[in-house]
Structures are given as C-alpha cells and as structure tokens.
Subunit: 521 residues, 2 copies
C-alpha cells in the first residue's frame, strides 16, 4: 500500500499540514519516505467528536459482532504482513522473525479478546433477586456488570511497533470492552502505524462499525498527546513508554476538572535474586540464561533484567564476562533510545562503586554495546541512582555477602513489573520473607526462570506498583487488560426487557454469573 503520512479521522484522512516529520531508518539514521503530517488541534477535535458519537452505538454492539470486528482487524493485518515487515524492519531495526512473530502476537491478542467477549463471562455479571416480603424493607432486584468507559486514548510504544501500538494490547482490549479508540502513533515507526491503521479503518467499514470507532493521529512533537489526554471527551488512557512520559500523562490526567484513569506501563529493572544454593548448583547456567535474557531484542523489553542480586561466584561472573564480551553490538529502535542507553550506561559506570565486568567493544557508533556491571549491596542501597532503569542490553550485578544484604536490597526496590528468585527447593522453603517483600514490589513473581517472555493469557499480570505502572491494580497484557476500560454499573428494578442480555433472567448468553452470592454457570 501507499503510505501517505496523513492522520486517520474516522473514515477519512486528515489534510496536509505545515508541520511534517520523517521516520529515520533505525540502522542507518537515513530518513525514510514519505513525510508524515502532524495532526492539527482541529483534526484532534474531529477525532474526539467522532469517537464520542460512536460510543453510544459502539458500546451497545452485540459482543459477537464486536468479536467479528476484532477478528476482521486481525485478518487484515495478517494480509498486510508482507508490507508491514519490511517497513517495520527499516523503522525499528528489528529482525524479520521478530517482526513476523510480533505480528502473530498482535493478531493473537485481537483473536484472544474476540474469544473472551464472545464467551462473555468477563463482564462479572451479578444478580440479586428481589424479596418483596423482606422485613423491615423489601429487597429490590439488583443486577450489575462491567460496562465500557468511553473513548480511550492509546499511545504507541516505541519497543513494540505492533503488539503495543496501533492494534496492540491497549487498542484490542479497549475495542473489545466497547470503547472507541484514538491512537497517537509513535513518530519512530509511523509508517508501520499507518499500514496497521489502514487495516483497522477498513475493518470498521467492512463490519459497519460507527466510523468514530477508530482514529489515529500523527504528531512530530508531544504537545498533541497532552491535548488528547486533557480533552473532556477522553475517558481513559493507555500508554507504554518512559517513566518521564508516563508520569507527565498521569499528572495531566489527574489535574483535569474531571480526572480520568491513565494506564501507563513505564519503568522496571526486573530484579533477579540468586540464592547461594542455586548459585553453587548452577551458577554457570543461570549466567548463560541471564546473558540471553538481557541481550534479547537488544535489551528493549520492559521485562529486561537490569538488576541481579546475588552472592559472589567466580564461575557466574566469568560466564557473564565471556557472554557479554562475545555479545553482538545491536541496532536499537531509534537514535533517541540508542543515545539514552549509551548515556545511561556511562552515567551508571561513573557512579561510585560501580565496576564494569564486561562491555562489548565495537567501533560501530550506531549500535548498542551490551555490558554487564557490578556494585556492592551497600552502594546499591545507599544510592538510588544504581536502581534507575537503563533501557537496553545491560545489567548490574549487586554482590551480596549475606541474606540480610539481599533482604535490604529487596526492601530498597521501587515497584517492578517482575521479580525473580533462583533458589533450590530447600532455599525456597526458607525464602518466605524475601517472597513476601517481592510480592509487595512486583506484579509477577518468577521462580527459576527469566522475566523476558511475557505470556498472553488469563493469568498474566503485566503490571506492578509505581513506577512500573501508574495503576498497580491493572495489567496491560492478557485477558485482564480489558477490565481497565470498564466499570461496574448496577441496574435496579429493571424489567428483563430493559436489561443488557448478560443480566436477563434466562441468561441468554450462557455466561457464568453470581446469583444471590453463589456462582451460576
């Protein structure tokens, strides 16, 4: 397809604008054609107005029809695979298998949400039947279920041009919930965004959804994103990106006359704790696994382990040293991320007590050089700078001389997406205190494995206390993500005919429901 660089406003496209930008080739830095036109505030007004109009009808579309719409989007994205992959490889510097794999995940997510809403029990239907003779006052008929919030603003992630971008998890879960979506494309992969948006726009038309169900704006800067988040028509926000960016959106949303929820997935160093027995038993294997986990995708995963808390071990460190010395310099998603990684690493290396175990040497200035560093537990605990996320292929080993050191290090952590323990069975049986601390710090606890590789299913919590996310009670991955864009609504004294199907007495959708406090299924 022909990429034109114009924002998507419902069923139409925005006009040319005076402010344009080009996406750079991630590997070479060369600008890619065409120019993208930043949306105007009028364009944004139109998108929000269309979304607001669409909400009343889209939120009432039967779940089966919404599911068909999601599946149609997936089909159309798959059909565009041959166009998406080369553009995504150029824009994001990602290898072909990753691009194809991420497309599979994206379409899989859309189909997962289609299946979820078709089955329907996710709405948490609850029924309390009337007792007209109850004393001292009659009990009314009262029924509740989750309903969509309204138009949702979705910000594309730099590190997942498909799976957390235009038709990614945020969009899929919001559309599944019954919310129109306005996407703010990421300027580093705007071409990929346009191809995917064209698939959604076509699916809206084909499935006869209201045109405001989906819009997408391009913007060279960040101002329009704030305008979007503070627009009274927007009722929730999905974001994956930096802590600075996410916090800015949180603050803007909280300061609105009508504050709205922001679901921002931001920053995590994903600590790995290696207990002495596990280290003695398999320090070499853990080190090898760690090299793989840290360098996977050039370390550009939210779950990349940036901190490893472990006792000293020669074989562990020498394996890490070998692994990181032999690691391959890696193209990063864009120059900004590459520079942030290089600067962040340099800053970390300059902190008192931080030693470099190994750093890939390379004269390729346009690639990230994987590195493994170390510091003492006391330096880690006394200097919060050591626990700041450095997004990219590096990790910092915190050498702990005792279990107390580990506990103290665990207590000093901020909120995390994940926390991992490597331990023998005997150690695990004694690690209740450490597990309890980590449960308070992270959304996902992992034993004897690595945090990269995020399953997309009903049990996944890809969330965690601030600053891992803005809302530690949410997940942005898995079926639970749909709950973010909904709220429960009670219906009191409604005749059956005025109730949503999910709450009608005959249970026409055949979903699991709580009836007078007991499960009916």
């Amino acid at each position: 397809m022909n990429i034109t660089g114009h924002s998507f406003l419902g069923s139409t496209r925005a006009d040319d604008s005076s402010q344009t930008f080009h996406v750079s080739n991630a590997a070479t830095g060369e600008p890619l054609e065409p120019a993208f036109h930043s949306a105007s505030t009028e364009d944004l007004e139109k998108a929000v107005s269309l979304a607001t109009q669409a909400f009343s009808s889209y939120s009432s579309v039967a779940p089966e029809t919404r599911a068909e719409f999601l599946r149609t989007i997936a089909e159309k994205i798959d059909a565009l695979g041959d166009e998406i992959t080369p553009r995504m490889m150029a824009e994001a510097g990602l290898p072909e298998p990753r691009c194809n794999g991420e497309r599979g995940r994206t379409c899989g997510q859309l189909r997962m949400f289609a299946g979820l809403i078709e089955e329907g029990s996710w709405v948490d239907a609850r029924i309390e039947t009337a007792e007209p003779d109850r004393a001292p006052i009659p009990k009314p008929d009262l029924r509740s279920m989750r309903r969509p919030l309204g138009p949702v603003a979705v910000f594309c992630a730099s590190n997942f041009p498909l799976a957390f971008s235009v038709a990614g998890g945020d969009t899929a879960s919001a559309l599944a919930a019954g919310c129109p979506v306005i996407v703010r494309a990421h300027s580093a992969h705007a071409g990929t965004a346009e191809i995917v948006a064209s698939a959604i726009q076509a699916a809206v038309a084909e499935c006869e959804m209201p045109e405001g169900t989906f819009s997408m704006i391009f913007d060279a800067g960040i101002e329009l994103g704030t305008v979007l988040v503070t627009h009274p028509g927007i009722k929730a926000v999905g974001f994956t990106g930096s802590r600075t960016g996410g916090r800015a959106l949180m603050d803007a949303a909280a300061a609105r006359p009508e504050p709205i929820p922001v679901f921002a997935e931001m920053s995590s160093v994903n600590p790995i704790f290696i207990l002495p027995g596990a280290m003695a038993e398999r320090g070499e294997a853990i080190a090898q696994g760690l090299v793989g986990s840290v360098t996977l995708g050039a370390g550009q995963f939210c779950t990349c382990p940036g901190i490893v808390i472990a006792g000293a071990s020669e074989i562990f460190q020498s394996t890490l040293k070998d692994g990181f010395t032999e690691a391959v310099p890696a193209t990063m998603l864009h120059t900004g991320i590459l520079n942030n990684f290089a600067n962040g690493l340099k800053k970390l290396q300059g902190l008192s007590g931080v030693d470099t175990i190994a750093e890939v040497s390379s004269d390729e200035d346009n690639k990230a050089r994987p590195a493994i560093l170390k510091a003492s537990a006391s330096d880690f605990i006394s200097n919060p700078g050591l626990s700041e996320e450095v997004f990219g292929p590096s990790s910092l080993i915190i050498e702990c001389g005792s279990k107390q050191d580990m506990i103290a290090a665990a207590n000093s952590l901020e909120g995390q997406l994940t926390a991992t323990i490597h331990a023998t069975d005997e150690e695990l049986a004694q690690a209740g205190d450490l597990l309890q601390i980590l449960e308070q710090k992270a959304g996902r606890l992992i034993i004897n494995s690595f945090p990269t590789g995020v399953e997309v299913n009903s049990s996944m919590v890809h969330g965690g206390p601030y600053p891992a996310t803005s809302d530690g009670a949410s997940t942005s991955v898995g079926t639970g993500a749909i709950l973010r864009y909904t709220r429960p609504v009670s219906f009191q004294g409604f005749p059956d005919s005025a109730l949503p199907a999910e709450l009608q007495s005959s249970n026409p959708r055949g979903i699991a429901r709580l009836v007078n406090g007991s499960l009916e299924s």
Copy 2:
C-alpha cells in the same frame, strides 16, 4: 466505657496533646465531654510504622482467621450498643432507631466480608498450566490472584458515624482484604469513634492480630489527614465526604512521588427523571415517594435526590408543595452541615429562574428546613450552579416541556452515584437513548423507585464517574468494595508448596477458579 479522647496507636493510646477539641451536641450545640487530643505527627509516624510492620504478617493470615477477627469486631461493637447509641444520638443528632439500625448495618457488613473471605472465590484465582512441549517456546506455569495493597488510610464520613466510619465499609473491606487500617476519626462524632475503636483494638488483641493492624487518630484540623495520605507507608485511601475534601486528597495522592489510589465518594445530586406517562399515571404517588426520599435522614444521604427532571404536572407539584410544607424541621449532623445546607439553599434560591415551591417555615434556627424548588430546563442546562449538590433535605424540580429537554438535561449532568427513571412499560421500551446517556453518568440506574436505601450485597455499585467518586470503576458498598484494596499478582514457575493456598493445584480452599481459561468450580 470511659471516653478519654486519646488516639489509638496499635495496642496503646497516644498521650495528651496541647491541641484539643470538643464534639458539639448536634441538637443543642453544647460541647460534649471529654476533650479530644489531636494526634501529633509523631503519633502518626508510630501508627504508620506499626501498620507497615503489621502488613507482612497480617496479609498472610489465613482467610478463616481474618474472618473470625472481623466477626469478633462485630460482636464487640454489638456488645457496646448501649454505649454507642446515646453518644451517637448526642453527637450526630440521629434518632435512636437510626443509630441501632446503622449499628446493625455496620456489623452486618463486617460479617458479610467475613463470609466473603471465608468462601474465598473473590480473589479471582486464575491458573494457566505449563506446556513444556509447546513450540516455539514452552508455556510456563502461571497463576494469579488478588493480594492486598498495604496499609490503608480511612477517613470517617460525617453522615454515617458507624457504617462509613471507624469500622464501616472502608475499614471492613480493607481489613478483609488483608490491609492494616489507620482511621482518621471525624471530629463531629469522635466519641462514637472512640467507642468503636476500642472494640476493634480489643478484637485485635483477642484474635492475636499484629498490633499495627488498626490505629485511629483524632485531629481537630485537616492537616494531619494530608500528612497521612502523603506518607510513603500508606498505599491507598478510603474517604466519604465533600467534593472539596475528596478532591484535595485526590490531588495530594496524585502528587506523591509514588502516587496511590484514593477511593473517595464525594458528591451526587442523584437525578430522577419522570416521563410523561408515569407522571400522568401516578404523579401523586411519585411526589409522595419523593418527599420521603428527600427528607429521609434530614436529606443527609449520598443518594438523596437533589434534581428531579419532569414535565409539568399540577397534582405532582401540589403534592410536593403539601409534603414539603408539612415536613418537619430536622436536626442535622453538625453545625457546619446545617450552615452549608442553609447557605447552599439560599444561594440556589437566589439563582436566576429558581422558584421555591415550598419551604418549611420554622423559627428553630438550629434545624434544617426542608424545601422544594423548581427551574426550567433551559436555566438548568445553561447554569451549572443549578446542578451543584446542596447536601440536605431539598430538591430542585427541572420542568421539561419535551423529551429533547430531558435528553439535554441528562447530557448536561456530571457523574452521579445514581440516576432514576420513572416510566410506564411503554415509555421504558422507548427510553433506550435516555438510559444510554444515564449509564454513562451513573454507577446505579434505578427504575420506578427511589435512590435512597442502598442494598449491601454482591450486585451493589455505590460508585460512579467523577465527581460522584474519584474512581468510577470502584464501589464503596457491597462485596465489590474489597477489590479496591487489592491488586492481582502473578506467580510463575512456583512449586505448589510456595504458592498461596488459593492457587495450589489441589484447590484446598475449594474456590471457583479459572483454569486454562475455563471456570473450575
């Protein structure tokens, strides 16, 4: 028991302080003995420190034991009924049956949450079993459930000295979830608070809970509340009160280095729509019901209907006129609320287009005089001042000449706890557009009834979009309230022995669980 006026810090009581205050008798304005001592910041530090210490053990207490603890609190409160009622009558000006009834509701809530956690399915346990042979990568074992957030700050409500105060819904749901609680007592009913707090303190000791499980601070001012909400040890906030107060806490929590959720239930005018057919059929009966709903408890319920949107009807207005003329002047909860009501009513009466249909005449300056006002739809839509909550026994009729007027009035509403429609069956079948608007505005929709009278069960949503609450996805009444103080946590690759009982393969607690996406029960 002997009321001493000292804050509760775990198992101890705070010392005398230089700043003291007295509660006034609601009916007479006379100060009641004894003096209450404002807690110091050191007292608050101690309470938070104890709560933080308590969390790791209290959050791991078996649900059956926590349930027994909640039931013990209820028993002890019931046993103190003869002391609570007279103090509550004096402090809050509420009649004896209401005091006893509210005690019943409070203890009922504690027992409801005890039953909920004993049964256990509320934790939303989800299990995805491993598939080691899955290609291209093995599927890990992944399980999730809801876990408690940490120490919770609870602010007592002025209008529910028991059911939304020291041992009220916020405290009961937080304790049920596994969170220690620090209560900020309401200075208008501090004596009632102290009696109830003594019951909880005794239950903590008797059930051998960690002492920091419960603390309660007295404060003459509002500063200490902000210190509490911004304390790094506090992980969530429950509040019922004014829009100004709630918003201040929301803003303070959002501005923390680590923002935390605030569940504030604040402001609602609970609109009632009367469609023409229902008005013609039973305008008199609806008017009688409305008089009762507006004047119930001196209009001091969050669900008091402050706005009635209806076509003109002589019998309706004359019945209202008679009802409000004959209504009884009412003692309010405290002088501040009485003055706010009088001033709010006067301000509303002074707005252009607002007429008074009836207002109780009385020379008792210390009592609220119920009133019923009216205005046109156009004035209502053009002047947001007409839709501001006036907390107390008054309501404003908005006369609508057409269905379009009603739709426009509905669209102009802010977020509400409830929205009600009175309609004939035929009208209801045609009211899809109005219902859809109201669903976006309110947490609970009611047909042919009145919003006062809030059921405490599994289907109740006592919530709604801002400014009704700070978090429209939450409810502060009913079993769903427990979810506010929890978040989901995933456990990956855990051996059965290291998992919480709820997630162990044999399902030792016998709860409903989602296993590989299907319900196991």
